[in-house]
Symmetry: C2
Subunit: 373 residues, 2 copies
């Protein structure tokens, strides 16, 4: 393998594939990036066996392709070296004994490489009927649901986001069993077969770091054990989580005893301040008391002090209420709603609280209250 | 104590005194901020017994002084509460049982307080002849020398910066015994008595965070066991380190066998790239070889690879050289020099390397080479 390439072009693509390398990986070969130089261009590939990222630099963006071939080089070192080289032409040449030499006019790096045939064989072929989804829409789904994912490895299915597709509706759900986020969007076209998969949340978050939100679409190629995302010249594969995601369809009530609408900033700030006098060990518990249109948010740490926050809300329906919940969960839920007002729905003091934009049912946030008696 | 004050004014001053609270402190009283409300204004004071910070809000900047008095309140809680309150008027009132109530139109916080008489009595009186020093000049001294301070507690005197004043010259020195930074500046006036003190480096760094670099002066009131800095309406006290700072005056040679001048960016970038193939366990050792006007910087990690960097320098005097040193120490030293070129001075391969601006002797950086054979 031998080529000449501009530093900024190689760097842009190393920035993608470096995200496929886990720094916790103890298998040395998985800390490498595979360079595949063909007459059409240069492929870069990384994988930690859970995800894989592949990018392509087409020949027009390469100064000179002298000799095709594959190399397998330490991801950390090639990344740091190229990052610190000036923005000019870099020569990369494979020499005897599985070494590469990286040269510019003033620098000469020699790096020991691994045998490219030792690298895992990752199948990144297309599926028959990929799903098309707008980049910004996908980013929002992930941003608005991922925080509700469980971080406990004891129930693996809850560490992912459930993607269900039926007809032309995509429903994405995340829950840690104390709260739940559900977002529904309409796709441009119908699917032939129903989809019901669980994608690891941490990999979806990595995916959103690989692209900027323009109006282009991402293609989702769904298989039984993996999903492949394609966009620009980038391919990202993630394995799926095995198992059945809990059926949450009956969890979200359609009837409510109490319904109020609050200014979202006033409500958030009141909870944020009240949360100062809560402790994580006590689940950041705060109390909400509704009397007509007066809402009182309160909390206390006995040895420190207490706080009361008051705000006016529109009481659109129903009874007074006195309920307790985690301020942290409530703040996460509020932050996901992009509206000026928030609709807060109750069914008594022990049933889940529902939060949503008053003008839309696309995004539903659910929080299970905490019993304090 | 009872007052009304604008949130932004109280916040500005809490931002100063919060820096006097160590979050590692296990004595609860030292996690408090003392409020002293007099008819002239409000004093805020914090201390961890090593440093103390006192600020003053004059009565013109306070909406209403209702009742003078002292309170002692948890620094963390009052800071977070005021930070999260909106920018409007805050009422703070002491009530029975050592409690305060903090209210705005929508919020009411009640905080348990400590007895203000339990707070350490900190003497922050002026000395007779304070030293005046420009804020930017003091910041630069600290920035250009502090990194050479030792982080090892085994030799406490090396964890501070030595301030020596003689006539109208201030000489500041820091060393961890492997490298040394020395900066000399001229003061506006002479001192009557020689000064030779060691100020803890971490406290000097905290000091620079308390002010912005304008052209005003800071007053340094020096005592045998402490120094008090005064500027704007802020007082910061730090204890001094007991003991004698090593006499470093004979360490810096005045004659050199080899003298070269390099472009500072080219030299820094070559070292920075070569340091990629060094390891911290091996002291980040790199090699410098000078042949006439050709400088070669090289390093290697046997299992990974090696690097050679080449640059042209002006060889102003002397012999070829082959010397090894810590790339980290060299980069720290280069970064402290604010010039386009760097003068690098050698006396053979085992004597200290000196680095400086070719046009100035104010700042001297010294690095002890590492013997590799």
């Amino acid at each position: 393998m031998k080529l000449e390439i501009k530093q900024n072009i190689l760097m842009e693509h190393l920035n993608y594939v470096i995200k496929g390398i886990s720094n916790k990986n103890i298998i040395p070969i998985l800390n490498c990036i595979k360079f595949e130089l063909t007459n059409e261009g240069l492929y870069l590939l990384s994988t930690d066996n859970e995800i894989a990222i592949k990018t392509f630099i087409k020949k027009d963006d390469i100064e000179n392709i002298d000799r095709c071939g594959d190399i397998l080089v330490s991801g950390k070192f090639i990344y740091d070296i190229v990052r610190k080289l000036p923005n000019s032409t870099i020569n990369i040449e494979e020499v005897v004994d599985n070494k590469i030499i990286i040269t510019t006019s003033t620098s000469e790096f020699t790096l020991n490489c691994n045998n490219p045939s030792d690298f895992p064989n990752i199948d990144l072929e297309d599926s028959k009927n990929p799903i098309e989804i707008n980049k910004t829409v996908l980013s929002n789904i992930i941003k608005q649901t991922s925080f509700a994912t469980s971080t406990q490895e004891s129930r693996p299915v809850l560490t992912g986001i459930n993607f269900k597709i039926n007809d032309n509706y995509l429903e994405c759900t995340a829950t840690d069993s104390y709260r739940l986020s559900k977002k529904v969007i309409e796709l441009n076209s119908k699917v032939d077969e129903e989809v019901n998969i669980i994608i690891p949340t941490k990999n979806l978050i990595e995916l959103t770091k690989l692209y900027s939100n323009d109006d282009d679409n991402i293609l989702m190629h769904i298989f039984t054990n993996k999903v492949i995302f394609k966009f620009n010249n980038i391919i990202m594969m993630t394995k799926l989580i095995n198992g059945n995601f809990p059926d949450t369809s009956k969890l979200i009530p359609t009837e409510f005893e109490t319904k109020v609408v609050a200014n979202i900033n006033e409500y958030y700030n009141a909870i944020d301040r009240a949360s100062l006098l809560t402790s994580e060990e006590e689940k950041n518990i705060i109390n909400l008391e509704l009397k007509g249109e007066n809402m009182k948010i309160s909390s206390n740490i006995p040895e420190i002090g207490n706080v009361e926050e008051h705000l006016n809300v529109k009481n659109e329906k129903g009874n007074n209420i006195n309920i307790a919940f985690s301020s942290k969960y409530m703040m996460d839920a509020i932050k996901s709603l992009e509206s000026d007002e928030i609709e807060i729905l109750f069914n008594g003091e022990i049933k889940p609280i529902i939060l949503k934009n008053p003008n839309s049912d696309d995004l539903i946030q659910l929080i299970v209250p905490i019993r304090t008696y």
